[in-house]
């Protein structure tokens, strides 16, 4: 199993929007490598002829019909939000990207 490098940790931290100090980066790298050891163990299993598996249950094609049901009252939708106004969520402004 190849070692997780510091650059990889930095990349993943960036994707997760986490600011890590040099010590934290190194600690996370060691911890990730310990986790990778478990995968190394799993890799010893014979998986010949088994496709990639994303679901543990052998089930496909679960649908709902196109029917309208009840929504929640808007006040309930925003009730757990740290900040809201007139049933809008209110958040610190963010860059319009997509």
């Amino acid at each position: 199993m190849p070692e997780v490098t510091l650059d990889e940790v930095r990349h993943v931290a960036e994707l997760a929007r986490m600011a890590l100090s040099d010590e934290e980066l190194e600690r996370v790298r060691r911890e990730l490598n310990r986790i990778m050891d478990y995968f190394a163990e799993l890799q010893q299993l014979d998986t010949e002829g088994i496709g990639d598996t994303s679901h543990a249950i052998p089930m496909t094609d679960v649908y709902r019909q196109d029917e309208i049901g009840d929504s929640l009252p808007a006040a309930k939708i925003v009730q757990n939000a740290p900040d809201s106004i007139e049933n809008f969520f209110r958040v610190p402004t963010f860059m319009e990207e997509e």
Binding site: H11, E14, L15, R17, S54, H55, I57, M59, T60, D61, V62, Y63, R64, Q65, D66, E67, I68, G69, D70, S71, L72, P73, A74, I77, V78, I85, E86, N87, F88, F89, R90, V91, P92, T93, F94, E96, E97, E98
Partner: protein, 475 residues
């Protein structure tokens, strides 16, 4: 220069379902903020999405109409990103297993045929809406969040802005024909993002791919693609630096500006959505959907020219809307005169439809009755002038034209004796016109025809009046 444009297109279309993609909240616009929401579309912990079968059907139907293959196994994926227009921090989308793939559409611009390969059609969920305030805060609401969104992606086969526009026009017509989307760009029901770069195949060189956003109309797409092609040519000629980036179209200044540079943070960490099981559209279902695909607008347009002998323009206008095309065919079948049917449907009929805000399916006038009206004109039972006069009443009441003509006593007078007597009176009353006519002024006849028409409230057969007048005046 051997560089040529290479343009690809991603089109998003909101699907015309009653409920959202993964929950039963209504697809409804203009509601109070967050009033069409539930734990699923606002990403509350523990909620479970369940796909809307109709949305899947719509995407397969569109794929089939674009000559795509239908996957027999595909999954939803999570597209992870940090942006509050989705409450979950990911969008449920599809990744390398789209519902349909490898299609094509054959089109033409100014008689020049071209083919566009369709890479895929897939399904995802729409995002919520943001309002940015000037006080450093933003408002977010999720009524639109979870509305089924279809993405149609082409290969980069377009070589000009004109081709891109033609494709969009035809795709919009197709989506409307299929009944899967309103495809209205100004309402955001259809959105479009082109990718543009230049390639020199012989030299194996290409400029970096630029994606253009903020395009709210076909004209904006056309102008932005055209601008971007010119800009990249300019950069090449002037050795200016280019990079892979997203650019925003600025409508007022008619140019694109850098929005953001592609970087490693664009890694969306796609992985299979564990809350949704795979889809394996069964063969019978796909066949059923294939049968529900109507004759497609381009094929119908060609048939209208060949079968009915209509001018290309008429065929294009009539097939723009499926209901109008269906209506026209029913009118033509009743009267057996396709060109007149086309004139009436494109003219007076469409005019009154728009004025009254109706559609061919909801208006009272049955196509058979418009067909009969045209027949009555062609059989000279009524004049076309009278037909035009009574048309608004027919349209409003939906009665048969014969009934209306009888009620109002409007049948054309084609009785030679009866007309002869009125013509005599016309000659008597217009001595000057008679003299003018006899001294060679052909136009003078008009005054006497007018007299007869007035006397008969427009019901005299004009051809016959002319004929009788000439006979009597040459006696």
């Amino acid at each position: 220069m051997a560089f040529r444009p290479m343009v690809g297109l991603e089109v998003h279309a909101q699907l015309l379902t009653a409920s959202k993609m993964f929950c039963s909240c209504p697809v409804k616009f203009g509601s109070e903020p967050n009033s069409n929401c539930c734990p699923v579309c606002t990403g509350m912990p523990g909620s479970l999405p369940v796909p809307n079968r109709k949305a899947v059907e719509f995407v397969i139907r569109t794929g089939l109409a674009l000559d795509c293959k239908v996957s027999d196994y595909c999954r939803f994926y999570r597209k992870n990103y940090f942006y509050p227009d989705l409450a979950k921090n990911f969008q449920i989308s599809q990744y390398d297993e789209p519902l349909t793939y490898e299609g094509r559409i054959d089109l033409a611009v100014n008689g020049e045929p071209f083919s566009i390969r369709v890479r895929r059609t897939h399904l995802e969920e729409d995002t919520g809406k943001n309002i940015h305030l000037s006080d450093g805060r933003s408002l977010v609401e999720y009524n639109r969040c979870g509305v089924p969104l279809m993405e149609v992606v082409t290969e980069p086969d377009f070589t000009s802005a004109d081709q891109v526009r033609e494709y969009l026009v035809q795709l919009r017509r197709l989506l409307r024909y299929l009944g899967v989307s309103t495809a209205n760009m100004d309402e955001g029901a259809m959105r479009c993002e082109p990718t543009v770069n230049l390639v020199d195949e012989a030299a194996g060189q290409a400029t970096p791919i630029v994606e253009v956003k903020n395009l709210a109309s076909f004209k904006a797409v056309h102008d932005a693609v055209s601008y971007e092609i010119d800009r990249q040519h300019w950069c090449l000629e002037n050795d200016a630096e280019m990079q892979q980036e997203t650019r925003r179209w600025n409508e007022t200044e008619a140019k694109t500006t850098v929005m953001r540079i592609k970087e490693s943070a664009d890694d969306y960490m796609y992985f299979p959505e564990p809350d949704l099981v795979p889809l394996t559209p069964e063969r019978e279902w796909v066949e059923e959907i294939a049968e529900s695909v109507p004759e497609l607008p381009l094929a119908r347009e060609r048939r209208f020219v060949e079968e009915y002998g209509l001018p290309q323009y008429d065929a294009e206008v009539l097939t723009e809307d499926k209901q109008v095309a269906d209506y026209f065919e029913a009118v033509a079948a009743t009267c057996g005169d396709a060109k007149s049917a086309s004139n009436w449907v494109m003219g007076d009929f469409t005019h009154l439809l728009h004025e009254s805000g109706q559609t061919p399916d909801t208006c009272k006038l049955q196509p058979e009755n418009l067909g009969k009206l045209i027949k009555l004109i062609n059989e000279t039972t009524i004049s076309s002038k009278i037909a035009k006069d009574i048309f608004p009443t027919l349209f409003e009441q939906g009665t048969t034209p014969r009934q209306l003509i009888e009620e109002q006593g409007l049948a054309q007078i084609s009785d030679e004796d009866e007309l002869g007597a009125i013509v005599d009176a016309a000659i008597e009353a217009n001595p000057k016109a008679v003299a003018d006519y006899q001294s060679g002024k052909e136009k003078a006849l008009g005054a006497m025809v007018g007299y007869v028409m007035k006397e008969t409230r427009g019901q005299a057969n004009p051809g016959l009046v002319n004929q009788i007048l000439r006979e009597k005046l040459s006696e």
